[in-house]
Amino acid sequence: MDAIILQILNGLDKGSAYALIALGLTLIFGTLGVVNFAHGALFMIGAFCAVTLSKILNLSFETIDPTQTDFLGNPLKVKTPYMESWFGPEIGASIIDWSVPLAILFSIPVMVCVGFIMERGLIKHFYKREHADQILVTFGLAIVLQEVIKYFYGANPIPTPAPDVFKGSFDFGSMLGFDPNVIIYPYWRLVYFFFSAVVIGGVFAFLQFTTFGMVVRAGMADRETVGLLGINIDKRFTIMFGVAAAVAGLAGVMYAPINSPNYHMGMDFLVLSFVVVVVGGMGSLPGAVLAGFLLGVLESFASMNEIKSLIPGIDQIIIYVVAIIILLTRPRGLMGRKGVMEE
């Protein structure tokens, strides 16, 4: 029992990342009908927003402190981050410490801008083209974005720590009444899970309970009719693209402490999130979320030693196997709408 709970917990954080990326992909596909291979790159840009903000906050100036000397007897140069000099050492230090959560605020406008530029500048011209062309051009874009990031940040992963409060793990098992030290869970992963739940809830609430969301949903169901009613649906879809980019970016920002961002993290996630979208059902938002968590949890179950000894290598391929089975038996995915991309 405790092992099962542990695996479910382990699967949740990866599942949350899959779910967030897949949610964005589905938003784009459902609204604009575009297959966006550059979505993984958006996730990566989000993670690098966190890196950038923590670098900015750590900008510091050097002063020569005559009271301290280094080992040669010269006055020591002391680096003081601007943050500490502006806000006082304590508040400054905690601002720097909280750089990743602060990056959430920083990344939303950045990602929305990136999304707008992408949609207006490139993807707009591909609505009427074949899906293959869309895949190809966004694939090219993904390469470009990845290389640009690599040019500015280098090829090595950049560690971006979470705030001190969330470092370390806690004993989740003893809270639930199991033996202590059986279910140990890192704080940040729990934070990630709750964060993604909030984001997903936010997106759904936005679509469900606002007039804007209602129009967007109507547009997803029948774009032409909504257009005929005199609503500028294109503009709304562009905004949804920005929202989708922001969701991917947020997933990336919060993922930075779990896995140090590097320039190809987007590609690594992209393949999996496509599989997630397909399993969930192309164009179905709840399906994407459900499949994200489901596959995340399945993956962590498959990496249990008991199962690995039964079927060696299953942890590496479980997601793909599930995807293949689903695609062949239920082509519209778990919760796909009937008739959408069902061929």
Binding site: L136, G140, L141, V271, P312, G313, Q316, Y320, A323, L327
Partner: protein, 395 residues
């Protein structure tokens, strides 16, 4: 002749001549001149031209004719490489055992994967093939280590059986004693030309494969494949089942990929799992699209283009740039170098990505279509007719 019409025969002859004289053509600059770094006439690169040409020709039979975009062709490349290296390990270094096996095993793999993936079309097909390729890649890295030697890559060790190994047989890949990586160098004036056995081996196979692809393009079977691309439903209504045709195309292109992988291992007796990664599949897609999908020459051009510029661009550095732009005033020179800097050297992929986006957006027919447009433009200007510039559909 050879079942080709006149136009195709001309193309075939041109390709043959170009391939056989590549060591001359690709080596236009004298060895000691400053431009020598743009020479592509060295064996390693020429072999890559031929091998990736084969890979792209094969991919084009699937994507160019049927329109099914596979994102998992690198898996077959890897399978081919592994089969050839296994033959080195078990029998001996003669490539004659490994290459047919590479074609057969990759064909079987393609049959299995294709049978399943081709039940879906469009984006689902792309994702299914991607999933299969990633699966093979992950398995090759982890569980299949006894067969693939995992991260280290498969290679020949001293204690391998090599049952057919003769007493004084070459200890690198060869064809009945013709050692692949040995080459003859001929100096003509300031030029030095390298004639490499491996290149000619790959080149001859590439010519044969090119011939085969012309025959496929012109055959009734090729017609069927085109029918699948243009309208599958109509084809089904005419009473033809498209699936056997697509499956055949998939298997053929898988076999091409296997052969290319086998040749990679014939030039360098190594096989690593990274050859199967999906970025490698992406590369062949890039080559085909860049050159012109659905055309005969396009994929070959694309493969050559990408491999050549990959090599050349990676070699250019800031010093070279400074020497090029030294005629400009100092400030301007530095500025130009700074602007170009991100696109060269390690930034080659950036250039490639931008180029690829431009091609997909503005020139869906690839380099071949670009060439045709330019040719049509020149023709029009010469004639000064008011006939509008019509672009031929890429063919």
């Amino acid at each position: 002749m050879l079942g080709l019409n006149k136009k195709d025969m001309t193309l075939m002859i041109v390709v043959t001549i170009l391939t056989l004289s590549a060591p001359f053509i690709l080596n236009p600059f004298p060895t000691d001149s400053a431009m020598a770094q743009f020479n592509a006439g060295y064996p390693d690169l020429m072999q890559r031209f031929a091998i990736f040409g084969i890979f792209a020709i094969g991919f084009n039979i699937l994507f160019g004719l049927t329109g099914y975009l596979s994102f998992g062709h690198a898996a077959f490349l890897g399978v081919g490489s592994y089969s050839v290296v296994w033959m080195y390990k078990l029998l001996d270094y003669n490539v004659i055992w490994g290459l047919p096996l590479a074609v057969v095993t990759s064909g079987i793999f393609a049959l299995l994967i294709g049978y399943v993936s081709l039940r879906r079309s469009g984006i689902y097909f792309s994702i299914l093939t991607l999933a299969f390729a990633q699966m093979s890649f992950n398995l090759a890295y982890s569980v299949l280590t006894p067969i693939t030697n995992g991260e280290t890559g498969l290679q020949v060790y001293n204690n391998d059986p090599q049952v057919l190994m003769g007493a004084n047989e070459a200890t690198s890949p060869h064809l009945f004693g013709l050692v692949m990586n040995s080459s003859a160098k001929v100096g003509v004036g300031a030029w030095e030309f390298t004639f490499n056995n491996g290149y000619y081996f790959c080149g001859v196979i590439a010519i044969l494969m090119f011939y085969l692809s012309i025959r496929i393009f012109r055959s009734p079977f090729g017609m069927m494949l085109r029918a699948i691309k243009s309208n599958q439903t109509r084809m089904a209504y005419t009473g033809l089942n498209p699936r056997p045709y697509t499956l055949a195309a998939f298997v053929i292109s898988g076999m091409y990929a296997g052969l290319a992988g086998g040749l990679l291992a014939s030039m360098d007796p190594l096989a690593g799992a990274e050859r199967m990664q999906w970025t490698a599949s992406g590369e062949v897609v890039l080559m085909t699209i860049l050159g012109g999908a659905g055309t005969l020459m396009g994929p070959v051009l694309g493969a050559g283009f990408i491999k050549y510029f990959e090599n050349i661009f990676s070699k250019i550095n800031d010093t070279v740039l400074h020497s090029w732009f030294s005629f400009l005033p100092d400030g301007l020179e530095d500025f130009v170098v700074i602007i170009i800097h991100p696109f060269i050297g390690k930034g080659w992929h950036l250039t490639l990505g931008i180029l690829f986006m431009l091609v997909v957006t503005f020139l869906p027919g690839g380099l071949v279509e670009g060439g045709q447009r330019i040719a049509a433009f020149i023709k029009n200007r010469r004639k000064k007719d008011d006939t509008s510039a019509k672009t031929e559909p890429a063919e």
